[in-house]
Amino acid sequence: MSARIRRPRKILNPPSIKGFKPFGIDPEMKSSKGSVNLLFEEYEALRLRDYDGLNHHQASLMMNVSRPTFTRIYAAALQKVATAFVEGRQMTIEGGKVYFDSDWHQCNACECYFSHPHKQLPIEECPLCGSKEISEFDFPEENNQMQNERDKCICSQCQYEQIHQSGVPCKEEVCPECGHFMKRKGGPGRRGRKMKGI
């Protein structure tokens, strides 16, 4: 698959928040600077690389971009987060050239809801009953659960598990049992690679 320019980047889940606000700001600094805007694809790059612990190659596959493109997006994301951090700026997360998996639709005939995994195809009818009485559907904001189940690192070699230390990328952790590198348990990495080319 050749890299194409201006291709929308795939992001798996929209962020559960719209941004961050700093607290305890020096009042003199407060008004001076505006907020930093993190694009959705930059958010996604951070999420895949540092939260899910994927490497650049895996993450680029997940986002459906070339590896150099991923690296560029990721670098921009880090730069923005660092700027917001250091300068005490507010950060918004929005915009960018992305599509979300998944967009959902509902059938008014059989009352089912369905995802549309083949975005290149038009949606014409309900996959279950065949009715054309369908409309777009927005999932109501589902409770922003903390993903505790995910917060474990697992050794890529011997499957040893330990609790993930927040702030420490799993991939920089070394397995106390066998010395191999750890990764985030249950991350979508394997799946993403396998799915390439379907």
Binding site: D101, S102, S115, Q147, G186, P188, R191
Partner: protein, 108 residues
Amino acid sequence: MKVAIASTGNTLDSNIDSSFGRCAWFIIIDTESGGMEFIPNTNRDMEEHVGRVAVELVSLRNVSMIVSGDFGQKIKPMLDSMHIQMVVIKDSQKKISDIVELLNNRRK
């Protein structure tokens, strides 16, 4: 096309299960041949990763659609990236036979 349905039991009179990962049975339907396979979900009591295991189980059977009462937040992106369509039926009284009938009528 193959369709997986999350079911509360192993008959056509069973209802749709409200959870995909923790459903009692998976019913795999081949809409072309009319064949059906009933698979007990032996992993439903696992504490973790039931969703992922369930996804693996049905994806091995080349399912292109899954019908369930709901899908967990972690399962959705997995299925999206595998291009497996999710169909949610909130009506827990729906029987497996109702769904099979809808699918059969549609394929005619």
